[in-house]
Symmetry: C2
């Protein structure tokens, strides 16, 4: 698996080439980085912790991703690609009403932030720390497709008279902000109220609440 790895940067295997790396080592590094951020409510990782928790030599980070920044970029890509693919598929789905599609979308947004509560903060950090070209790539690849999906999904519902007149772009902030905030405030709630927001019970309660209030907010009466 050393050959042709698209993430090896210049394509030339560097020192620490994974002769003895287990199959799936690259994916495992990303999954471990994701778990570290989720558990710690952080958007940074130490390579030594990554090595310890994954059981993989940290030289593999250099091999697969070039450096830590490359690893963070690959994680961003992994997480966002899954979201964009899933949202696109939902928008294109035949035979579903705008209301059914929006309910299903809200359901999945809660799932997503439960799984990757660090994603918005990581995205903001990467945009801030990137040059203009990379910031533009992140915007074009991940943020714009989601905006367009909202335009289509909400626009269809408004034209069908099912939804009230709602600005899709502003609505995007309403939804993602409400959901993101709940899960990203995790450690604060833990510190302050001895409450962990990352439990399935609380996820399900917050999901019910969110779908309830957002649908009531957007449905035409």
């Amino acid at each position: 698996m050393a050959q042709g790895n698209p993430s090896a940067g210049n394509g030339i295997p560097v020192a620490g080439s994974p002769a003895g790396a287990p199959p799936g080592a690259r994916a495992q590094l990303l999954e471990t980085a994701s778990a570290i951020m989720r558990d710690g409510d952080v958007i940074d990782i130490s390579l030594s912790e990554l090595s310890l928790r994954s059981g993989l030599n940290s030289a593999l980070v250099k091999y697969y991703f070039g450096n830590k920044a490359g690893l963070l970029k690959a994680l961003l890509d992994r997480d966002w690609q899954a979201i964009v693919t899933s949202v696109d598929a939902l928008v294109e789905k035949d035979g579903w009403s705008p209301e059914a599609k929006l309910r299903r979308h809200l359901w999945k947004v809660v799932d997503t932030f439960y799984e990757v509560p660090y994603l918005n903060r990581l995205t903001m950090r990467m945009v801030r720390e990137s040059d203009d070209a990379e910031a533009r790539r992140i915007a074009d690849s991940y943020l714009s497709p989601i905006y367009r999906a909202y335009e289509q999904l909400i626009g269809n519902g408004v034209r069908a008279g099912v939804f009230r007149e709602i600005d899709p772009q502003l609505f995007y902030f309403t939804v993602t902000g409400a959901v993101d905030r709940f899960f990203s405030a995790r450690l604060v709630l833990k510190h302050c109220f001895d409450q962990d927001t990352l439990t399935e019970e609380l996820r399900d309660r917050y999901r019910e609440h969110t779908i309830d209030i957002i649908m009531a907010g957007i449905l035409a009466r």
Copy 2:
């Protein structure tokens, strides 16, 4: 003004005592720190930039706040005290319906995040970096009073049959997340879409959108 300043830490004037400091220097340092965070979409400041923009000697930071951490704490206190006072006054206001109070509250939440878009991120940072006692103080002084106000405000509306059955605590996340996200995503939007969210025009559009969708979401039909 050097005597009896409650923020001088141990109360003993330290080196750099503000013999020549202008009146209101302490408030001016806080206001400048706030402006730096707002303009830069950051939750940190450099003392040299603070000195440059305020026109005040950075030794005054040591005098009034002990160090940068003390300055950040004082800023957190300044911003939150204004919010808690205003929310408390609204909840206690006689002769206003729960609906009118909630509309007014949402109006002000948008104003607040427009003025201090850094506040949630700063709060989370301070809680993360504080010891347990200080984290508890922040929670008890600022987060808990807001939760209690939501319980009262929403609870009154639910009991009066004006609001649907909504969990006040979860509703708190819906509101603050939706509003915070819009204004705190500022530099990202600027990078990505050449759009500045911190304009009065966009603030007013987002305010109208937020009040519209949240009120439709909570009002009994």
